[in-house]
Symmetry: C2
């Protein structure tokens, strides 16, 4: 039995809704910034029912947090390269690549703006250098005798991330290439065990 | 000859206007954030004519930049403590103290928000670790043989500043005490000459 065509026929559904909405959030942020972001505009851009968006992400802060988490999932765990310096570069490079993209800058700026309004974007962003990656990287370095005793793994990784944020948002320069190598040198020498 | 009393008798004038306005900007930002900031509210809080504020600072971005510069002037040049580690701590401590204050956090957040709108707040903030302080600190360290050749003084200082920003805005934790000592250890070891 065939009923009348649904009004939302052809619209994305399920997992497709999620990725369409999160892509729309990044695109909207890059165009208008956090101040111009609205659930309505995101829904229109993603070609999704407004109510579907509101049901899952009731506020624009929730949209920013979800977009940030979506990007961070792309990073996954940092690979074991066999050396502390290599592991630091492997962890920092995808964060720097993201921060070098216009939608990455916009998302970073929005996440910083939303930390004032309930920590959603900030909490998601914080996971970039958080728990899992930082501690497994430190464990591997300790096993090789490369980690200076007393250094907090989170502090080490957040120093990398903070410098990338400063570079991108305040210096407004690219956080890649020689600049990134220089940063990894500073942090690597800063946290390695004395020779 | 005494005329009729002026309508703005008792209102701050000249240098007093500047400090009253900048104090009002900091207080307004701490209360309402950048989105709630307006020239009108600042003028009312500072008890200054709205037109006096508009004449000097035509936009709220200009107000944020001026407030940031006012605070940065308090820092001045970093003192010569006789060692690279001491100089780094002396440079970072007042920035960390500022970032630990509610009006400092609000101002930092506003400066980051305004970098999207013409770099005013960001340009002012950037001076925190800029030119003068960074290069004189590096010159002194070079003269003592403490500076690792090839390290960019700005990159070294901005790594300190970026980590303080990450700590304050994303971790939302105090950037002082043991945490600051740990950060200075990382950056000091990261940029010092090999023993």
């Amino acid at each position: 039995m065939t009923g009348p065509p649904r009004r939302d026929a052809g619209r994305p559904r399920g997992a497709t809704v999620v990725s369409a909405v999160l892509a729309a959030v990044r695109a909207e942020l890059a165009e208008t910034g956090f101040e111009g972001l609205s659930v309505e505009r995101v829904a229109r851009r993603a070609e999704v029912n407004k109510t579907s968006v509101y049901r899952r992400w009731p506020t624009r802060e929730a949209l920013v947090a979800a977009a940030m988490e979506g990007l961070l999932e792309e990073f996954g765990d940092s690979p074991d390269t066999g050396s502390l310096r290599g592991d630091l570069l492997a962890l920092a490079a995808p964060i720097a690549d993201l921060a070098a993209r216009p939608d990455g800058v916009a998302l970073l700026r929005a996440a910083l703006a939303t930390t004032a309004r309930g920590d959603l974007g900030g909490a998601a962003l914080q996971r970039a250098g958080d728990g899992h990656s930082a501690s497994s990287l430190a464990e591997r370095a300790r096993a090789r005798g490369e980690w200076r005793p007393g250094v907090d793994p989170q502090q080490a990784i957040f120093t990398l991330v903070g410098a990338i944020i400063h570079r991108t948002l305040l210096e407004q320069a690219g956080p890649t290439g020689e600049w990134l190598e220089g940063l990894v040198d500073i942090v690597h020498r800063g946290i390695r065990a004395d020779p």
